[in-house]
């Protein structure tokens, strides 16, 4: 048996480095994003592939308290048969099991919990190739992206959450001495003890597109702050979280703790167990990524809990001027194409003044810009093999339906085409569609078209673009924003507009950084200041609501 304290000692140096990196917000990463042999070893790739293949067509080996029967709900966007089955959860049994685990988990203390969490993460990283296949065949991300976003980057985000939770729960001393001078007498002296107490049972509700990346911050933040966690994957992407929960329970049991500190809640689509668990009186924390509809429902109905949601939004690009037009086009084309725009961070609304933008090669009208962007997309996605590696596969019929609807609209400047995949002939792969609109077409562009659909919207001026940007994002939310301008005055105005809108801003991205990507330990993801998300991944606010510090005091 390895105690939580032993695990903390083992991982202490890494945790201290992570806490320091989160504070400095410079570049740092704990988990290598390259799937190369030189990093992960000669055998890692084939072993991971074998491990993934061995899971297919079988019941997934995991214990779930109170489960009865099984469910098998996943379909690979790459067309292979998965047929993994999971124990079908009984929501009340899961809540009862989690509640029974509370006091033991509380007694472990912040450092021990951080030790356990980091050990879990190390073992997840050791299975990164297996995990990448699991993410690829549920989300539709291309393999390398699944390895990075679903593997290394998700693990970095998890470690970041552990670091914030550990720092927040140890910032107040566990023991303090208090001595108040008294006139003409001995001082009043007391010893004061602070104990971190979790808020209660936590629920994490996963999504199909980023089953690990979007679930890990809430999962690990809740764990380290002292809360047992029920993990409810999307029925379309169970495997990556089932592997995660399996590892959690393994580490907990080896440390002599109740494994029900983390449980898996798999369901048949339509069972609605997320709503049942989220509104249970003992459930006090809910983390959710997904549709605005269910996110808003959770915020309105899970009143006994703190609710962290990440929902839909209108990611916006304000186009004013550039001195690197080719770089702009290349960068933007890649942002629209990466994982077929199925990122919560993909730009949807591209705002361009009627008179066009200025570039180092002269002015470009909206019409010319549309043609140039279309050409850049064509160039990026011209080779089918490279295109498939960038686009990944379409995750579900909902995305496909929106793509079809948009592609049939007037004003298409870049049409969507099917792309064939050599390795997976059954894969559903499409290039993105871009449609020209006018600023008056707000009925169309003020709803989110999640997937490879973007709008090039003509406005009266950059000032008008900034006003639309602020108003639409304040009202409907956004996770990202990008401005292209060579004018310091416009950049200042864009920064002010982004502060008013409550969204993070990227400026003049023309190289290897893309607006849809954020780096753990440096970039915040989401703000809380607009309707797209209630908090950032990860800052103090994201962890502070998950625990309380309770004091006891007595005279020395």
């Amino acid at each position: 048996m390895t105690s939580p304290a032993d695990l903390y000692a083992t991982h202490r140096e890494l945790l201290e480095r992570a806490v320091a990196a989160a504070a400095a917000r410079d570049y740092w990463s704990a988990f290598p994003e390259s799937p190369s042999k030189s990093v992960y070893g000669e055998d890692a790739a084939p072993a991971g592939e074998r491990a993934f293949a061995a899971l297919l067509g079988k019941p997934f080996p995991i214990e779930v308290p109170g489960a009865s029967g099984t469910v098998s709900t996943e379909h690979s966007p790459y067309g292979i048969e998965l047929a993994v089955s999971y124990p079908k959860a009984d929501p009340l049994a899961l809540v009862a099991a989690a509640r029974a685990a509370i006091s033991g988990w509380r007694a472990v203390g912040p450092e021990g919990r951080a030790g356990i969490a980091t050990e879990i993460l190390k073992r997840i990283n050791a299975r990164i190739f297996e995990m990448a296949h699991a993410v690829q065949h549920t989300s539709g991300q291309a393999f390398v992206m699944a390895f990075q976003a679903g593997g290394a980057h998700a693990q970095d985000r998890a470690l970041e959450a552990i670091a914030y939770a550990l720092a927040a729960t140890t910032r107040m001393p566990a023991q303090a001495s208090w001595s108040k001078p008294q006139r003409g007498g001995d001082p009043l002296s007391m010893t004061k003890t602070g104990t971190v107490v979790g808020r209660g049972v936590a629920l994490v509700i996963g999504c199909t597109t980023f089953p690990t990346w979007n679930s890990y911050p809430g999962l690990f933040a809740s764990l380290v702050t002292g809360n047992p966690v029920i993990v409810k994957p999307h029925p379309g992407a169970v495997l990556p979280l089932a592997i995660t929960v399996q590892i959690c329970r393994e580490v907990l049991a080896e440390a002599g703790l109740n494994p029900d500190v983390v449980t898996l809640a798999a369901e048949q689509p339509g069972d609605g167990i997320a709503a049942t668990i989220a509104t249970h009186p003992d459930v006090r924390i809910v983390d959710f990524t997904g549709s605005s509809e269910f996110g808003d429902w959770l915020e309105a109905n899970a009143r006994q809990a703190v609710v962290y949601t990440e929902k839909a939004g209108l990611n916006t690009v304000v186009l004013d001027s550039t001195d690197d037009y080719k770089g702009l086009l290349r960068n933007l084309a890649f942002s629209l194409s990466l994982y077929s725009g199925q990122m919560c961070t993909t730009p949807q609304n591209l705002l361009i003044p009627r008179d066009g933008i200025t570039t180092e090669d002269g002015a470009r009208t909206p019409e010319q810009f549309g043609a140039d962007l279309s050409a850049a997309l064509g160039k990026l996605l011209g080779d089918p093999k490279r295109a498939a590696g960038t686009l990944g596969a379409i995750v579900n019929d909902g995305v496909l339906a929106r793509l079809t609807e948009a592609a049939g609209a007037p004003g298409v400047v870049h049409g969507s085409e099917a792309v064939a995949d050599e390795q997976f002939p059954g894969a559903t792969i499409r290039t993105p569609v871009v449609v020209r609109l006018d600023s008056a077409d707000d009925k169309t562009y003020t709803r989110e078209w999640f997937g490879p659909v973007s709008f090039l919207i003509t406005t009266d001026s950059t000032e008008h673009s900034l006003r639309i940007f602020t108003e639409t994002v304040r009202a409907h939310g956004a996770l990202t924003a990008l401005v292209h301008s060579t004018s310091p005055a416009v950049l200042d105005a864009a920064r002010e507009a982004a502060l008013d809108a409550g969204v993070h801003l990227s400026e003049n991205l023309t190289g290897g950084v893309f607006v849809n990507q954020t780096a753990a330990f440096s970039d915040l993801h989401g703000t809380g200041a607009n309707p797209a998300a209630t908090a950032s991944l990860t800052d103090d606010y994201f962890v502070a609501g998950r625990f309380f510090t309770l004091q006891s005091r007595h005279h020395v």
Copy 2:
């Protein structure tokens, strides 16, 4: 004009000391609690009294945007005529004025805002005698207590909130460099800027009993995190907050800022402007101290805001054993008597096993304990002058009605008596009532009897007492709990029970520290973990929800 940066420079050392004290949680105080001449100077007391007298019978000199007409709503519990009138607020005009102040206040930045807030606090401290009279004649606190709790301690709590808000808003660097190595190329390098953005317009709703102490943490936390604040005093205790807002506006204007960053919302009782303002879409933060009824209403209805409430509770004492019986009685009698039990921290439910408690003088049955406690109250309050100094005055008819109801119940072990005051013959002063109940009388003791009413409740055993303690506090809340025991096993069980109940615990208080008092920078007040309060005063959670950090990034 003194700029916010100048004010930050002026107060920087004090702020750094406060941040360090809040982190260490040892004894520290910035504002002396003694009203002696040696501390505040020869003339401070008479000058303060003159300043207070000069306010009476007149319109209070303060500008309120959009106000029309005046209100005059206060009555001194000491029977003197106040007749101060205030501009009657128009809630929509106040919200509009606050909203107009947002971007200017945001631009000041965390350090500048902390500088402004500390300057405000220094000027409040310079008027501490005037403030003490204002608190005395609205809350009914005796003068020395009004000077301490309404003056120095409230100012310490305010500085603590400023320190937490400053630390939280500067923990993430305002500027960071990020440089990610690239295989076979130059690193990707970016500059990242973090800007603190307040959540929106803040509302602070004050109470009659602690108009400053309970309002200052929310007021100063919201200010320093970048939010304009509307201060809505209880109609019975306007003056202390009117003075506070007057000083806020004076400092803001002198610094060249919009004084509407802080405004006063005075109303006629029954106008209900707190509800109107709290549910306005632009109001994003609400701080409230008062009844559970309105607190619960705010939590349910001010859905667009984060709501911090401090409401009613069942403060509990678990009596098991002691080796200082006289000290226990003296300490408890004082806790029940101080400010006539009109503190949210005064013990109400005293749980004693049927077989009695063991003391250094042998066992004491519940009956004997009741008699001994009554005698201790008699001794403490025997001298009318000293009694008046401890008891203060009864704040309103509601408290008086509860006192009369309790005093008419069977099982009274200490009856309430009127006490005459030399200086203020019109003062309403009463000694506390203690009533014996059985553990089965939970209909009576599970509601809060705010005021000088306590119950000595017979239980089957200490274990039973701890069970009642946990169950009643989990269900109905509490701000304080106290255990008396010489048994390490019982103390351990009491600590575990307090963690389960979600309440801070004091142990074996027999000297000069009382369960109803908490010290800024060391003791937390409220936990968030039981229904009596949604957060502690003051920790990171109390400030973290008041702001967001928004990033912008660009290549170097």
